[in-house]
Symmetry: C2
Subunit: 150 residues, 2 copies
DNA sequence: TGACAAATAGGAACTAATCTTATTTAAGAG
DNA sequence: CTCTTAAATAAGATTAGTTCCTATTTGTCA
């Protein structure tokens, strides 16, 4: 990510925190900066270990609570998983996910074909849809290559 | 569910167990019967509590291990969640899910409009897709009614 | 600069999932 | 039907993930 884009996202993040009367602490900013540089939908523990390099005394709880708070105010998202620890996504734009069932990677993709994933009328009338996503399960390139070998 | 359909599904389940050289134990059959009667994508603990009525000595571990085994041989599915305990789905036919963010309900729906949720070419060439699902997040009727009150 | 509510660090507590081991049992052979 | 054996079970211990508790620190605003 460009330095410039990064700064811009952090600025927006700080703005959103203020709107929600959240204090701008160095820990929160550090955590957010780590997260927006991540590409793998990391767990709280992974974020913790990364941010610990910059803040050696930070506690796991601070990281985990910050991530939950960020999800509440909508600057990050908790991603769908099939068990295991929660995973976080700094990309809150509409996009879709591939889940590799062998290595657990979650790969982003966008596709105009799904652009207006319409909600069936029968459902739209009883369920208030807030977000929509296509979740594909399967095997990533590396993992399906490994399987071929046997 | 009709008694007849139930019996048919259990028969199929037993057949699949045999194909995988799994022993047909009363516990496994009991667990499977409970699960196919469930409509709420239950957790292992919920299945445990229900099956305990029929098998008072059954252990949680037996239930949990059985459910994992069932998922491995493909007679049930682990459902996508946003944290919390694993939840299981006895319906392995293609279908989609609504997740209520307030009460946690997961509601099934089918929609021909998604029937051929095509996989973008760029992805199909690097990722081997095994299953596809639309996941909608939002509020169910009861929960959005509750919100209106404030 | 001072007051105060909010946030943090550190550890305890809790919940979910998995592992260990002694005992029981399903299933196939005879 | 009986015997043998590997697989499955029950019960409890252990581990992993998350949340809670409390004393201390810190960001914010007057
Ligand atoms: Mn993503
Ligand atoms: Mn379902
Ligand atoms: Zn993979
Ligand atoms: Zn609801």
């Amino acid at each position: 990510m460009q330095n410039k884009e990064m700064a811009q996202r952090v600025r927006l993040f700080i703005e959103t925190c203020r709107r929600h009367q959240l204090k701008i602490t160095p820990q929160r900013v550090g955590i957010y900066r780590i997260l927006i540089q991540s590409k793998r939908h990391p767990t709280a523990d992974l974020v913790y270990r990364a941010v610990k390099k910059e803040f050696p005394n930070i506690s796991f709880d601070t990281v985990n609570r910050a991530l939950s708070t960020f999800a509440e105010i909508g600057v990050v998202e908790v991603v769908e998983t099939f068990g295991g620890p929660k995973r976080f996504d700094p990309d809150i734009k509409d996009h879709h996910h591939l889940h590799c069932m062998a290595c657990g990677r979650i790969i982003d993709f966008e596709y105009e074909g799904y652009a207006r994933l319409e909600v069936p009328k029968a459902i739209a009338s009883t369920f208030k849809v807030i977000s929509r996503r296509v979740v594909l399960k399967g095997l990533c390139d590396t993992c399906s290559a490994k399987q071929q070998m046997f």
